[in-house]
Amino acid sequence: MNPSKLAIEIPLEIAEPTTGMVQAVLRELLEHVELLIKSGQQHVIDLTSLPLNDSDKRELKNLLGKGEVSITLSTLGDSKIFETGINGIWWIKHFNPNEQLLAELIEITTIPEIIKSHPDDIEQAAFELKKLIENNESGEEV
Amino acid sequence: MSTSFEQGINTLKQVIDAPIAAYFSSCTNCGLCSRACIFYTETENPKYTPIRRVEPMRRIWEQEFTLVGKAKKALGLSKEVTEQDLKDCVELAFESCTTCGRCSMVCPVGNDIVYMIRRMREGLTAAGLAPKSLQDAAVRTMEKGSVMGFPMKTLEAMVKAAEKETGIEINIDKPDVDYLLLLSSAEVMQFNEIIASLAQIFKEAGVSWTFSSIAHEAGNPGMHMGASEIEAQMINRIVQAAEELNIKNVISPECGHAYMAIRWEGPNVIGRPYPFKVYHIIEVLDKLREQGKLKTTGCELERITFHDPCQAARRGGVNQPQRNLLNMVSSNFIEMKDSQACNWCCGGGGGVNTIEKAEPLMKKVFNRKRNQIEELDVTTVVTMCATCRNTLEEGIENNNMNVQVLGLTELVANHLLKEKKS
């Protein structure tokens, strides 16, 4: 089909060649996974600070694959978190209210910190549950 | 004695003009002028680099005629010219420089270095440092009328001999003729057959000419020394002779510096233009050839080359006439590798051949000319300057080369087509 007749103009994205950084990242992941197993020590890699271009990130994502868990946090703009095909390796993306990428990280852990409910909040939970129950009971009587 | 160190410095202040200021402002000490100077190329001694010959004058120019220079002098950054500086300069400006002007041809910023050396000599002479040999020559020239000291009587004797030989009447002090002929001392001393040759040539060409008892030689040691006042006295004699005899054309003989003195420097040193024209003898012969008044027969078959005298060819501008004449009388004329304006100096000019101390140096630098000649494997070297001829002959003798040296006029005369036997 003659490209000029296309109804919409498809922005051609020239894939930049990969820089080979992915190999380094994979080795770092391996090292920290072993640490996680041995001593339960968690680790975070900040992708924005590494000189990875888009092709590198795409290659890394394809290599690691998609796992079973994908979570979306709505925290003043979304945060998309999913576990990669390799258990214990989580891919985290934080966005601000107008979908601007703020930070992109890989966390090597059983479960990313940000997902866990913090003990302080849980302490608050008992207090709130009691209130809930009271409201619920009074609602019924009325 | 009016010559002194102060007078020397004073004269240098007088001679420095705009061109010299421009030259000193532009010299970048690149060293290229040494490559053109036989005194460097043949000795490999960097002290002979041409621009070094005028270092004292450069300092005077800088210290006297530029604010930057005056400031540097005040701050003690540039030291004044001392008497010893001038004394050391004599070796560079006189003994190892024939003022051949080849350095001025190659200077990238276009400095006329020989123009400056010529001025430097003025300062040295005013300081009484001119070589003794040149001073004596100047005295002889003024007192006897001839650089070598040949009085008029000698010339008269030679004229009589030539008249007898050629049967042609040769005039002395005859007014209203076409040409006033001047000779050079070397011709009178060694190559006086030139008188007969010229008599025949002029006769065939139907041209009238005369000698003058007031001025029979054109040699000018004043110019060599750089004593423009003495040079002026010598020129004035010739001018007086020409004016008294009411002659419109003066012939400068087969001599390099004579042509330079009478043709180019004369009017400027005496301070007024001539009422007559000046020609080099070869220019005259070529003109006659052109007018068909000079016919020759026969042809030199063996290989001939021509040595262009620096003052006449490069600095005087006489380049083509000698070639026309040579091609007329020779079928095997071969140009030297560097010829005409780029020719290498024979090493004897500029007064160098009169300075004993410069003898060994002169011999050494002749190598350049020897190579030029040997390269061509010629039997004869022709030239049109008596000093060159002398120096060439000496050089050939010292290097026992079997090459003969000929004056161009003489060569032409040998082939002169004579209409009728006298």
Binding site: D120 | N10, A227
Partner: protein
């Protein structure tokens, strides 16, 4: 939970900011400042624990652009979260109190947190005529700055005016404006230049000050995290510069192709700031991306750097105008020197003694 943390946690709750939002804020701040991810967690820990830091914001000769930039009056955003960690005890634009009450609040804050509060300054300080050109409550900026600075733990000069003197200092600088660091020499000063600075840079630096103290500064007191590189170093149009492809006017095809704006006066190469990476308006764009050259607003005296639309390689002011004057002066000096030369020449002429034959050893005529 200690009342302190509770007080802050409750505070966060009250603003409808969950812990996870707060964690995300710290992570993005750390990433922006190229700190290690671990620092983010540490930052979160510290921010939660600290008692709210007292901050006194003094505004001198300024246009409130910096305050506008940091408070992002349009809508609350992650950046403005910082205000939840500091107690802004004095800001004459934002605070409700005014007149004596405002000044009393400031003195109170200075007294309560003597030696511990952070002094934030925006705007330059006039010195001419005793500093009368800008006063607050009858007190000149100069005196107020000196007074408040005495008890400050650290000073943050926000905006090019406070950092380097900015627009008020532009020649002829009628009010004798100077920067904070020209006056105060005995306190750690962090300069956050820019006209205005980028919001995330300000909040990032404040967050860093609150958690890790003074960030690493360059020789002009600017945090290296944000001012280490020049715009040019991180500019996406850099390949065009290297290939020498420059836009000749703002609407020629070179400009449309996004070529380098060097010839249109871009000061990117000599301007240290984070615009090219952090960008403006929440990462939307920055001057060069929108087709206009960088003005160099985070550098001292950028108002006097020779015109925003003249390349860096041009002269400031008109060197040409000097040439004609110098030519005339040179000619005049030339004539004077020429006269001196003429004098030297004529003297030499006069002193000249003719060189005669006698000098050559000849007989007297």
């Amino acid at each position: 939970m200690s009342d302190n943390r509770q007080q802050l946690a409750g505070e966060l709750q009250r603003h409808g900011i969950s812990r996870r939002t707060f964690l995300k804020f710290c992570t993005s701040m750390a990433s922006a400042m190229a700190l290690t991810p671990a620092a983010a967690a540490e930052m979160a820990e510290k921010l939660v624990k600290i008692k709210r830091q007292s901050v006194i914001w003094l505004s001198f000769q300024e246009c409130t652009g910096c305050t506008e930039s940091i408070t992002r009056a349009d809508k609350p955003s992650l950046e403005s979260l910082i205000f939840d960690f500091i107690s802004l005890d004095y800001h004459h634009t934002l605070q409700a109190a005014s007149g004596d009450a405002a000044e009393l609040a400031r003195e109170q804050a200075m007294h309560d947190n003597a030696g511990k509060y952070i002094l934030v300054v925006d705007g330059s300080i006039p010195l001419k005529d005793g500093g009368v050109y800008s006063t607050i409550a009858g007190m000149t900026n100069l005196d107020m700055l000196k007074q408040v600075a005495k008890g400050a733990a650290a000073i943050v000069a926000i905006g090019s005016c406070a950092a380097f003197g900015g627009l008020p200092k532009a020649s002829p600088n009628p009010t004798g404006a100077v920067s904070v660091s020209d006056i105060i020499h005995d306190k750690p000063i962090i300069n956050i230049p820019g006209c205005p600075p980028i919001p995330v840079v300000m909040t990032g630096v404040l967050a860093h000050v609150l958690t890790f103290g003074i960030p690493e500064l360059d020789d002009m007191g600017r945090p290296k995290a944000f001012y280490g590189d020049t715009i040019h170093d991180r500019c996406y149009r850099r390949p065009f510069y290297d290939r020498g492809e420059f836009a000749k006017s703002f609407d020629d095809d070179g400009a449309r192709k996004g070529w380098c704006l060097y010839e249109l006066g871009c000061k990117g190469p000599t301007t240290h700031n984070a615009c090219a990476t952090v960008k403006w308006n929440n990462g939307t764009s920055f001057p060069i991306q929108s087709g206009h050259g960088c003005l160099g607003c985070s550098e001292p005296d950028f108002w006097d750097a020779g015109g925003f639309y003249k390349a860096i390689s041009t002269g400031i002011g008109k060197p040409g105008q000097w040439a004609t004057g110098a030519l005339a002066a040179g000619a005049a000096a030339g004539l004077a020197s020429a006269y001196l030369n003429k004098v030297t020449k004529s003297k030499a002429e006069k002193d000249h003694q003719e060189v005669t034959l006698e000098d050559m050893g000849g007989k007297h005529e």
